[in-house]
Symmetry: C2
Subunit: 333 residues, 2 copies
């Protein structure tokens, strides 16, 4: 392994190791997103899938399966399944959030319409479950239908918790388990299941995915307030404008005095946001150590993910998954 290889990002090294598997996943995705009768379906799907997400979730499935010596091709089906569920979620999310951009492109709901996004998302979910039945494993179906329920439950919870200052850290954890960690956890778990890994290892891979997803989302939520660095960057403030109760806000609200609380009520609950409010919010977070505490929590979850890997066999992929957990929090370390 040369210096170039060492300096590669963990995500790229995983992708390189899984090149053939990922090619098979991409071919299967293209095959299954087709619709003989409704060309709108592959159009919408391709718009999103070919915009090139990181394919992190299907890679978790492939890596977990290979880590435990899987030799068949069910892991390819499951990886495609996981990507379909993720894509369906994005399509529906963009309708729910009325988003206009995703992966650097206009969203499908903007290019076509909300109707197409809702129905194509439904189609992809159905196709995902069809593919799962091809593995013949009821257990895999249970894991991924549980994940799907957790995802939508988390989204509904986020909807009702948004703008509500009573939202606490427990609710926050449920929301981000739904929006992110549930599918990470299921993706890693089904990879281990399809490879017939022993139960303790299956459970360990699930814990790895869960903790990785939580760390991933906490980093995202922290960076939306510009991390702990002094200056707020360009891509910050979206959560603030959408009045989302993310961890930095929850922590700052928990420590607010009466005047500060009035500020949070105005900007989050009432949505009356003025020039300079984002900077004021950030100053309150710094004053109460809310950003630093969020950073510590994210690092803790990344460590939890790495610790879960202790159960996994000694394998090049284990090292890459370990590095991936470190990489997820690298932007805030």
């Amino acid at each position: 392994m040369g210096l170039d290889d060492i300096s590669q990002k963990p995500h790229d090294r995983l992708a390189a190791w899984l090149t053939d598997d990922m090619a098979a996943v991409n071919a299967l995705i293209r095959e299954r997103m087709a619709s003989e009768h409704a060309p709108r379906i592959p159009e919408v799907t391709a718009h999103l899938i070919e915009a090139g997400g990181k394919r992190l979730r299907p890679m978790l499935t492939l890596a977990a399966a290979r880590l435990f010596g899987h030799a068949g091709d069910h892991h390819v089906r499951l990886a495609a399944t996981v990507e379909f569920i993720h894509t369906a979620t994005l399509l529906h999310d963009d309708v729910v959030d009325e988003s206009e951009r995703r992966r650097g492109r206009p969203t499908a709901n903007l290019l076509w319409d909300n109707k197409s996004s809702v129905l194509v998302g439904d189609y992809l979910l159905a196709r995902a479950f069809q593919m799962m039945t091809e593995t013949g494993s009821i257990r895999v179906l249970r894991i991924l239908s549980d994940a799907s329920a957790t995802i939508s439950e988390g989204e509904v919870l986020q909807l009702t918790a948004a703008q509500d200052l009573r939202t606490d850290e427990d609710v926050y954890l449920k929301v981000i388990r739904g929006k992110t960690a549930a599918l990470f956890a299921a993706a890693a778990e089904v990879g281990a299941v399809v490879a017939a890994a022993p139960e303790p290892q299956v459970e360990a891979m699930r814990r790895y995915g869960d903790a990785l997803g939580i760390a991933f989302q906490m980093v995202d939520d922290l960076l939306d307030y510009g991390s702990t660095a002094a200056v707020i960057g360009k891509n910050t403030g979206d959560d603030f404008r959408e009045r989302k109760l993310t961890l930095p806000v929850i922590k700052a609200v928990a420590r607010a005095d009466a005047a500060e609380r009035a500020f949070w009520v105005r900007v989050i609950e009432k949505g009356d946001q003025r020039e300079g409010d984002l900077e004021e919010a950030r100053a309150l977070m710094v004053r109460h150590g809310a950003l630093e505490a969020t950073r510590t929590a994210a690092l803790h979850w990344a460590e939890t993910a790495r610790a879960a890997l202790a159960e996994a066999p000694d394998h090049a992929l284990r090292g890459m998954l370990d590095d991936l957990a470190g990489y997820v929090v690298a932007r805030i370390s």
Copy 2:
């Protein structure tokens, strides 16, 4: 059996025969629509489910299972599953169609918002697949995930076919198989499967559900132009205003001369509808026998449904399912 009993509608007789089973289905639905963390979910679901649809689809599952002597309780799970899939479809449909009323009440998208309808629909779909895994039958999962894919494919097809005068009877059949017949067929089929009916009977129940669903939808589409009776009633014209290419329109367009074609282009493709256009559309349909031909097609499909039952065992439920096929077309006979 007294005169009162004979004069009951087939649907009510089915419901009476299946009282205990339906009570179990309703209890299971209430149990599974709960969400510990997101009370919005049961609120939205209850609004729709307790408005009291006819529960036709779950009854098909129960009836098919009992017809073939099923004694366990998997048929109850499957019936609840089918109702969840149906409810999820209604929630998403109302978003897609921007509907304001359903089952005599304001729609969920109006009472809450589109977001809730999309996400609660997703939740119910996930819960449906969870329940299916409890039966331990991959086959049942395959049948219902196939049906889900056909439903959303049919909806997308309807979306792209609407307002397009090139839509022909083949496309129409695919659309209504998606919107209605696919779930009727799957509901009847999984009932037979869970009762371990022999293959030819499983196939026969599928054909029964498919034909029943097609007849059901054709009657609906015909009545939207006031049936073949002379006068257009109150509840007509919705499809015309939404510029849907239903069978009566397709048949009238196929037989249109140049002037008539210009009319259809204006009202359907361009959506330029004026006072008296609905009456003119109906007059053209009568002139070309389009309403009569639609009626004949619906009666044919009802007969196809009845014929499929010839394979079923001699049983009181077989008679009720036979009567149900007659009842579906009774309004146009």
